[in-house]
C-alpha cells in the first residue's frame, strides 16, 4: 500500500470537497432561483465534466493553467510558479472535474423547497439571506451530505485529469489511482490489488452512506 499516495488522495479529496461546497452553494442557489437562459447556460457549462473525457478536461486545464492564457499568467504571478504538476494545480483540476457532483444535488434541493413557504417567511420579515440561512439551508442539509460524499468519492477515484494536470510525482501529485497504474506497470499485481480493494471499499461505503441518507430523509410537509 502506497501510504504517501493515500495521504495525498485523502488531503486532495477533503480540500476539493470543502472548496467545492463553498463554491457550489451560492452557484446552486443562483441557478435554482430562476429559469433564465443565463442560468441554463451556466448549468450546462458546469455539467460538462460529466460528459467530457477526463483527458480532454485535463488537456484544457494544462493549457489554461500555463503561461499561454491570461488566467494562467495571473495564477503564475499570484503563486510565483506554474500550477501544472503541483498539488494546487491538481486541486483546481479536481474541483472542476467534480463540480457537477457537488452542484447537482444542491440545485435539486434548493429548487424543491416549497415556494409558498419561502414567500411567507419573506412577508413575515425575513430578508433573502435570512430565508436562505434559516429555511433553505436546513431543509437541504441531507443534500449537502450527499454532495460532500459524492464529491469526495469522485475525487478519490479520478485518474485522467490527475495524470494530465499533475503527472505522477510521488508525494506531490501521485494519488491512489495513479499509484495503482504504476504498480500494474511494474507488474506488482498484489500491491495493485490491495490498493484497488481499498478503493472499492471506500466507494462502497460512500454509496451506502448516500443511500442510507435517502432512507432517513424526513418527510417534508
Amino acid at each position: 500500500m502506497d501510504f504517501a499516495a493515500l495521504g495525498l488522495t485523502l488531503r486532495l479529496a477533503s480540500l476539493t470537497t470543502l472548496c467545492l461546497l463553498l463554491l457550489a452553494t451560492p452557484l446552486a442557489a443562483w441557478i435554482a432561483s430562476g429559469h433564465t437562459l443565463s442560468r441554463r447556460i451556466v448549468q450546462a457549462i458546469a455539467a460538462l465534466p460529466l460528459v467530457l473525457p477526463p483527458t480532454v478536461l485535463g488537456f484544457y486545464l494544462l493549457v489554461g493553467l500555463g503561461p499561454a492564457t491570461a488566467l494562467g499568467r495571473a495564477l503564475i504571478i499570484l503563486s510565483g510558479h506554474p500550477l501544472a504538476f503541483t498539488f494546487w494545480g491538481l486541486l483546481i483540476g479536481s474541483m472542476i472535474y467534480s463540480l457537477p457532483f457537488a452542484l447537482q444535488p444542491l440545485i435539486v434541493a434548493f429548487a424543491s423547497v416549497d415556494r409558498p413557504t419561502l414567500e411567507v417567511a419573506q412577508v413575515l420579515g425575513a430578508s433573502p439571506w435570512t430565508i436562505f440561512r434559516r429555511i433553505t439551508l436546513p431543509l437541504s442539509r441531507m443534500s449537502f451530505l450527499t454532495a460532500a460524499v459524492l464529491t469526495f468519492a469522485h475525487t478519490v477515484g479520478e485518474f485522467g485529469v490527475v495524470l494530465m494536470v499533475g503527472g505522477d510525482i510521488p508525494g506531490v501529485t501521485r494519488t491512489l489511482s495513479i499509484s495503482i497504474f504504476d504498480q500494474v506497470q511494474e507488474l506488482q499485481y498484489s500491491a495493485a490489488n490491495r490498493t484497488s480493494a481499498a478503493l472499492v471499499a471506500l466507494a462502497f461505503i460512500a454509496l451506502l452512506f448516500v443511500y442510507g441518507l435517502g432512507r432517513k430523509r424526513p418527510q417534508l410537509v
Partner: protein, 249 residues
Amino acid sequence: MASAERGPSLSSPTPHHHFAADLRTGPLHLQAAFDLSAPWTVLFGPSGSGKSTVLRALSGLFQKASVDFARMSPSGWIAIQGKHHTTPPQKRNLAYAPQGSSLFPHLTVLRNISFATDITRKPSPRTIHEILTLFDLDSLAPRMPRDLSGGERQRVNLARAFAVPEPTLFLLDEPFSGVDRAMRDTLLPRMQQHIAQLGVPVLSVTHDVEEALLLNADVIRIEQGSVKDQGPAARVLAEERAAMLTVLL
C-alpha cells in the same frame, strides 16, 4: 393614484389603507381598487375570484405588477407600493397567514410561531406563550408540523401571524379553513379582542357566508377579479343571509 378604477363608496369616511391593482396571474385579471376603513374587512367571493391574489399583492409578492398600496399615518398617506417606489415584502410589517398554512417543516410549532420575533429580534406584542394559549397550542409547542392535523396546522399558521412584532395590518387568508366550527367559535372572540387591543386593522379572505356575518365586518365582494360591492356584512351579504336562513328554517 390608482391605475385601476376606484371602488364603490366607503362605509366609513376615514380610510386607513388604499389598494388598487391591475395585474394578470394565470387566467385571472385582477382589476380592483378599494379603501379599507373598518377595523376588520372581509374579502368575500367564490373560489378563483382573486381574493388571495389581493392578499399576495398587498404582501408585495407581485413586485413588478401595477399595484398601488398606501397606508394612512398621522402625517398623511405613506406609499408602500406604487409607480416610483416599492417596499419589499419583508419591510411591510404585515401579519400574514397564507392559505394552506405553509408552516416551516423543519421547525417546531414554537419555533414556527416565534419565527418573526426570532429574525427581527423585536419583542412580540404579546409573549409567544400568550399567543400559544390564545390559539390553544400550549401542548403542541414541541411538535413538528408533520405531526399535526390540518386544523392544528391552521391554528399554528394564525398564531405565527399574531406573533409578528409591531404589525401594521393583518392579512388572514381563509383563517378558519380546516378548523372545526366549535374551535372557530372559541378562537374568533379571542382574536377579535386581541386585535382590538393592538388597534391594528385586519383584512381577511373567506367564501364562508356565516364566517363573514359572524365577524360583523365590512365586506368587499369580489368576483372575477373585480370589486362588485363594499359595505357592512348585513347589507352586502343580505341575499346569502336570507338563503341561509331559508335552509335553516
